[in-house]
């Protein structure tokens, strides 16, 4: 693994470690500052640097969190984010899996052309769809509802989901599917009993990728949910807080950290799948 280690002099090794440690510190400090500040009382956070909290007297408080979770709407927004993200992850994956199965294992006219269109759609900026889709939602009276945002995220997530799953399913052993078919299994049986279980690694990466994308999304929520606080996810609530609180760092830092909790949990527990999702997602816009 560390195949270069032997070929360097002690001095250049020292420089190497130094550079790397400085970079890592630089990357970690912004988040660390946020985390520490979120536990500091108002009067201290606005008058002294967060690093002073590392030395005694230790004065920390949970009141920032209680405030943003209750009066700051972050509690309800956390639940809204979940309500938005879960169906927006489940729906596109299942619908994409159907289509991917057809693309990988069925024969039909214009198969390649349709798939090329889907590859083209992978990188289309969503901005191109906002006005017509908003008009459509307005006409249907769906704007500001969870249904609107579920449908939108499902539609937007499909090209990448189909692309990823089709590539994965295509590499599954054809002989297994063939013999199941010869044994009289129907397509739904093959799909649910063989294809889906065998595709779990791809589905896991995809699910994490899509969940994080929806969880962290601001633009789609901002546009299709309007400004209604009752349905706002955390990203929207936080951006409203930035406008209304200005320098209320104790609330902003606590809110930001609450929004990061779940992604960080996913990141630390499912890092392997997350990274794999990112790797395969590198064709997506």
């Amino acid at each position: 693994m560390h195949r270069h280690a032997s070929s360097k002099s002690p001095l250049s090794r020292l420089v190497l470690h130094l550079i790397l440690i400085v970079i890592c510190a630089g990357w970690l400090v912004p988040s660390l500052g946020l985390l520490i500040s979120s536990f500091r009382p108002h009067n201290l956070i606005s008058t002294t640097g967060w690093w002073t909290a590392l030395l005694p007297p230790f004065k920390f408080t949970l009141s920032n969190y209680t405030y943003v979770l209750t009066r700051g709407h972050m509690g309800i927004s956390f639940i809204n984010s979940l309500i938005i993200a879960i169906p927006s992850t489940v729906m596109p994956i299942l619908i994409a899996a159907f289509a991917a199965y057809a693309f990988a294992w069925m024969r039909f006219p214009f198969k390649e052309t349709i798939f090329l269109v889907i590859i083209g759609l992978l990188v289309v900026p969503l901005q191109l769809t906002l006005i017509p889709v908003l008009k459509l939602f307005n006409a249907l009276g769906l704007t500001g509802s969870f249904v609107a945002i579920w449908l939108a995220h499902t539609g937007y997530g499909l090209p990448f989901a189909i692309y990823l799953l089709r590539n994965f399913m295509q590499d599954l052993p054809g002989s297994v599917l063939e013999s199941a078919y010869l044994d009289g299994a129907t397509h739904p049986q093959i799909f649910f009993k063989l294809i889906i279980p065998m595709s779990v690694p791809a589905i896991a990466s995809l699910a994490i990728f899509q969940f994080m994308w929806v969880w962290n999304d601001l633009l789609i929520a901002l546009i299709y949910l309007g400004g209604t606080q009752a349905v706002a996810p955390m990203t929207v609530t936080m951006s409203n807080m930035v406008n209304s609180y200005g320098g209320g760092w104790e609330y902003l830092t606590a809110a930001a950290f609450i929004s990061m909790l779940l992604p960080m949990l996913v990141f630390f527990t499912l890092q392997k799948y997350f990274v794999r999702g990112i790797l395969t997602g590198s064709v997506k816009g």
Binding site: R3, L20, I45, G49, G120, T154, L218, I223, S282, G285
Partner: protein, 326 residues
């Protein structure tokens, strides 16, 4: 959360999948076990239909409509020809927007790639590689909004003499004698750069992970051979690693370019496009919601599409060349 919301969530999480499973089972029942050529095409249509409907409604139809709207007036009533495009390319504010996007495009892409490559190369040589990479990759997991708050706090500015609570000003005050604290996000000379730094902080991990996988993919014997031939580390990097890594770098650069063109959240949260920091996506949002000019907003969106078309063609070409497994 009221009972209606709970019901809707249950429908979405359980009902929709059940509905889809029921749909596919039923359509198979309809087709029977007739495994002839014609029925296999019909079967494929059943399997693809749900995805196809959603793709048309949420992507294909809106894209075409937006292109048409871009040639209509603010209220989408009458046609105005290319007037909206003329506005996009001549209006002083729009030119500033395009300049900012260009700045993002060049600076963000180059620096993110360079840092990603540097960290991937350095981390490859130490025992704490996994930890170092996790630290750099972590910002990838959080939202742009949270990152915006994190960095607004980093850039916080207090007048000279007062204690600085923003890390950037505090560190610079400590390091540089006689340093005057800067209002990084308000000073028009620095604010665009300050925003781009946030993007770099978030995306370097992405570049690093992919480039690191590329570096690990370089066969050890190639590197050993170069070393035996007397090449030093820099020569190995320049003449062995870089050429072998070129395709990976292209993929990363392409992804970064696609993402940077659409950049929205960071600017929205940190400056809302004020003080000369506006970019294409934020401008479009304002045309849409503040000025209700759907014609101009659509034209701005089409600019994004045009900018991305080369990438689209490249992807399609790559897929066709690579055949099934591109």
């Amino acid at each position: 959360m009221n009972s209606q919301t709970i019901l809707m969530l249950a429908v979405a999480v359980l009902g929709v999948p059940l509905l889809l499973i029921g749909y596919i089972t039923l359509s198979e029942r309809l087709l029977g076990k007739a495994a002839h050529k014609r029925s296999s095409s019909v079967r494929a249509i059943f399997w693809i239909a749900p995805a196809a409907v959603l793709l048309v409604v949420f992507l294909v139809y809106p894209i075409i409509t937006t292109i048409i709207l871009s040639m209509k007036d603010a209220a989408s009533k009458g046609y105005v020809g290319l007037a909206n495009y003329k506005y996009v390319f001549t209006d002083q504010n729009m030119l500033l927007v395009l300049r900012n996007n260009l700045l993002w495009l060049v600076l963000f892409t180059l620096v993110t790639l360079t840092f990603g490559l540097l960290i991937a190369l350095l981390a490859d040589r130490v025992k704490y590689e996994a930890v170092a990479k996790s630290i750099v990759f972590l910002p990838m997991a959080i939202s742009f909004v949270a990152a915006g708050i994190i960095w607004k706090f980093m850039y916080d500015f207090q007048p000279a003499g007062a204690p600085q609570i923003g890390t950037v000003n505090a560190v610079l005050s400590a390091v540089i004698p006689g340093y005057q604290p800067q209002a990084w996000l308000f000073n028009t000379a620095t604010n665009n750069i300050a925003l781009i730094v946030v993007g770099i902080w978030m995306w370097t991990g992405f570049a690093m992970v992919i480039l690191s996988a590329g570096i690990k993919g370089i066969p050890t014997d190639v590197l050993e051979a170069a070393r035996i031939d007397g090449a030093n580390e820099f020569q190995i990097f320049r003449f062995v690693t870089m050429p072998l890594l070129a395709p990976t770098i292209t993929v990363v650069a392409t992804t970064l370019i696609i993402d940077v063109l659409k950049i929205f959240d960071i600017v929205y949260v940190m400056t809302n496009g004020n003080l000369n920091t506006e970019v294409i996506a934020n401008r479009m949002y304002k045309e849409m919601f503040n000025y209700h000019n759907y014609g101009r907003a659509s034209a701005i969106a089409v600019i994004l599409l045009v900018a991305i078309i080369p990438v689209m063609i490249l992807n399609i070409k790559r897929f066709r060349q690579g055949g099934a497994n591109a």
